[in-house]
Subunit: 334 residues, 4 copies
Amino acid sequence: MLSVGIIGYGYWGPNLVRNFSGIDSIQVKYVAEPNPSRHSVIKRNHPSIQIVLTAEEMLKDESLDAIVIATPVSTHFPLAKQALTLGKHVLLEKPMASSVAECEELIQIAEDKGLTLMVDHTFLYTGAVQKIKQIIDSGEIGELQYFDSTRINLGIFQNDVNVLWDLAPHDISILSYLKNEMPISVNATGISHLKNGIENIAFLTINYASNFIAHFNCSWSSPVKIRQTLISGDKKMILYNDIEPSEKVKVFDTGVGIKSDADRNKLLIDYRYGDILIPKLSTHEALQQVATDFIESIESKKAPLSSADIGLHVVRVLEAAEKSINQKGKEIYI
Amino acid sequence: MLSVGIIGYGYWGPNLVRNFSGIDSIQVKYVAEPNPSRHSVIKRNHPSIQIVLTAEEMLKDESLDAIVIATPVSTHFPLAKQALTLGKHVLLEKPMASSVAECEELIQIAEDKGLTLMVDHTFLYTGAVQKIKQIIDSGEIGELQYFDSTRINLGIFQNDVNVLWDLAPHDISILSYLKNEMPISVNATGISHLKNGIENIAFLTINYASNFIAHFNCSWSSPVKIRQTLISGDKKMILYNDIEPSEKVKVFDTGVGIKSDADRNKLLIDYRYGDILIPKLSTHEALQQVATDFIESIESKKAPLSSADIGLHVVRVLEAAEKSINQKGKEIYI
Amino acid sequence: MLSVGIIGYGYWGPNLVRNFSGIDSIQVKYVAEPNPSRHSVIKRNHPSIQIVLTAEEMLKDESLDAIVIATPVSTHFPLAKQALTLGKHVLLEKPMASSVAECEELIQIAEDKGLTLMVDHTFLYTGAVQKIKQIIDSGEIGELQYFDSTRINLGIFQNDVNVLWDLAPHDISILSYLKNEMPISVNATGISHLKNGIENIAFLTINYASNFIAHFNCSWSSPVKIRQTLISGDKKMILYNDIEPSEKVKVFDTGVGIKSDADRNKLLIDYRYGDILIPKLSTHEALQQVATDFIESIESKKAPLSSADIGLHVVRVLEAAEKSINQKGKEIYI
Amino acid sequence: MLSVGIIGYGYWGPNLVRNFSGIDSIQVKYVAEPNPSRHSVIKRNHPSIQIVLTAEEMLKDESLDAIVIATPVSTHFPLAKQALTLGKHVLLEKPMASSVAECEELIQIAEDKGLTLMVDHTFLYTGAVQKIKQIIDSGEIGELQYFDSTRINLGIFQNDVNVLWDLAPHDISILSYLKNEMPISVNATGISHLKNGIENIAFLTINYASNFIAHFNCSWSSPVKIRQTLISGDKKMILYNDIEPSEKVKVFDTGVGIKSDADRNKLLIDYRYGDILIPKLSTHEALQQVATDFIESIESKKAPLSSADIGLHVVRVLEAAEKSINQKGKEIYI
């Protein structure tokens, strides 16, 4: 029976522990949490799990097969490197690490040792994103034209990473999953209203070789919570509104056909605006599928859907975006 | 009795004719419209107005006091220059002209001749923007932090100007009216899915010397119509949703107070989230007030609210934005 | 060329005059309006139409073919009777008349004289209701189960009829059009907060021989405007939200299948909840089609879609509903 | 230390157990659940609670102070009677019991024995209802005019009680809490699309001696989930939309003032439509406060907010409503 240890019982940790505990075929053996005041909660909810103060205490258990890392971003690399080196499979919270170099080193170690390395981009497993992927792959919406995402709310300011590192991984990972094309470059702008100079608002454009563009609007300082993405093809367009309880995905049979009209020396636009379809979505808990995918990837030595490659892609974009902000919006090549 | 001529009876012209006709103290003497098939409509709706084919025909009437120009942007400058030179007051549709140089020349002529030169930024006269202006000026929302506007729909593609020149004047003029600070620079990115290479989607950031940022998302290719602006102060925040029939302006008693906490060497954030107020707005027709402001500005030699200065400000930003798009998002100083 | 006279230029009259004037094959000869202060508006908008103070003045013109009556309900019967007796076709605003007896007498006269008698239930001609009719008739939603309508707002209180006579004709006519079954009885309750004792809020249930029920919630005293109807079949359900600008009709692939399970002696419910479809609707102006249908019905001696029978059906329900309110909700047979 | 036993671990039971377990000053000693397959879940979540199969097993424990009954309605009376007779305080799920007679007998026993008898009308403890109560009691909205509630969804059909007994207790208890006036009578209509003849849709009007009316629209067969109540005073009106995540309560500064105008022999209505306020609501968990109120009522011998009197009021209305449905909407006196 595969045994798993989870590091970090802060904001997301409890969800991870609950979902891994729900898999009958494995054992959640450890939770590491440095804050002793959290231990009683763990004990109450999960009486059979061993609680330790440090990651080291669980990593030294040679029988432990896999670890899940739900700690601040800056600790991802050292913890994952240590675990992989000790031969353990690793699931990392998003973003994967603090730099492209770190991600690449982790991927190399995992590959050398034949270990599963996965990043928890939970949104990829939602019914909404799965349905959108299926629609795009079917060719129904035609050639992709743009991806325009807004993820803003009155948020919990992070004090180690800016709003892009905090919020954009969700949308960049979705984009990376939906569209299999490496970006060429990014432009980003932003502002900090905080004393520590960390951006609480940022705008990111990703440029591609094909005639496609992606844009991200991220903010911790919006009075309203918006989580909305437009994904447009040349045949149909998709509105993905994650706040909507029952109408998250809308497919618009809407397109604009263009015919040049030499005579009148101008463009004629032929608008179509047709039915809207709101497809039924699967309502499973996404994180349950993350946990299952991690375990199955270990067991069958397959690549997980939310792969380290997607994790690296996300960090590549974030690293470039941060450079662009620091260079006043200059285009940064990836 | 002041006499007015209106050039162009296309999309917006009929609204201008109707609203100027509603002012009892003036006479709408001419409408110029080159397309003869439109003349019967003008005649039916306004039997007493003289219809001419060209602007020249009305401009040669020395008794004509003022003209309103509702023609394509590229014709704004020559028509307005000719009219001002002939001593006529001028109201221009937005955007004011095709370049900063053109705007500045028009302003100079008007000043030299003591004529009223005004730009029809209709939104400034809406109940919503008037209320927002009043709230900001009262100090209630504190120091302005950001302005974030989204104006997207499945739009009528223009074939002479890109989506920024078409849609952004609304929001840039509102911003210019609400915040009395000249921008330092802009960054803009965009894409064209049209054969003529004109951008149908564009994203614009405006940078300021103060700790304020403005962002604009404009698109002719969205399946949903969104006209939404967030205007945030350090005390309260405003959501301006122009699509909402009865709740266009929401004032959120929401703020984030920051206190540094040296001991723990990190930032503590004190969130406040309080009542929301939806103020009653005046429901007058904005364009009626544009027409009235133009006439009153002529009569009393005052500067209109939607002044040529705001018109110039808008074109200044647009000109820089277009440069930035052409230079791959590079920061362009204003 | 068919000639038409319109009686009443109050709230709805201008729309009727405009739409009948838009039909090239007929002539709008007269508008009768007792309030002289309205005459200048008519003259300005429709310089070629003859304006008279009383209906009598136009009815005495023997060459006049048809009249449209847009006056208070209490005057519908005498005006229509006089016009029909004089051999003129009649289009009546809703509700058709003040009582079933009046409606039946008008229908009899029209039949005897071979004249077109039509009631302006405008909603029947909207893209939304036309689409719903088509969906129901296709059998797609299965056997109809219920019709539940809410039509409330902060309304213009009428001082001659209660809120049911004012607002319910819209929904009762829609129901009558969609479902071809005579009701058995009604129950209604209501309240008046006005000094004149006229109900400003009322609730109406219509009972049928089949296993179908209809309910109507009408109010002039709601702070929010709601115009929403649920129409359910045993296979699919329709939400018709007339306030929605672009998503007025939603078809839910939702049903509840029931299988009795004797063993466990209770009902098992098999829920299905599937896709939602928002069909594209025709965006014509409904009143234009009302006018056209009236003219075509005269010309081709066919029954109009919004027939006198539907008008009578509506008044039958309203008359019974008023009795039920007066008898404290007692079931009143129709 | 007060000890509590909870009967029933079905739909609502787990929430009760969790919330009572969260009160440090008491001990949740037993959970009774007849279905053995549920026991492992209870054990996992609450390892220290004793699990029994029947209520009898916990009731025979003389040291047990209080019980909470979360079982089907038909079992409420016998279980509560037994518990009260044995001297235990009782919290009953809504509705309190199956008849007025049952409720009255329970109240009598509790009174005779000096025991706390409370009904879990959870909604009374929500931030929304607490805020509405406060607004009404302040006199701000003036004299109450109507209460109009819609609670519809695609629901879990009950097989022992109809939709009114299932859904209306929420809204009737809220009304009873907000307005301290006994109704005079009710009218109700409904329909069953189920083989067992239990109404899945029902409409209820409650009549009062004062010029106030209440209406309830309840359905298990709606494709959309609506939980919306209008509460109107003669000065202001409240919209309570329980589905809204952040704008549950809206207060409209809206009213209609009426002045009779003898001269024109009709009513003049003076509409006011002003600001809308969305007050900040407390976001506590309502059920936690139910549990706390029950314990405090026992300890301090005070009447709980969600008293047995409100529970009785609700059943009184439901019993009359069922009679009215069976007598085709006839007014039934209470």
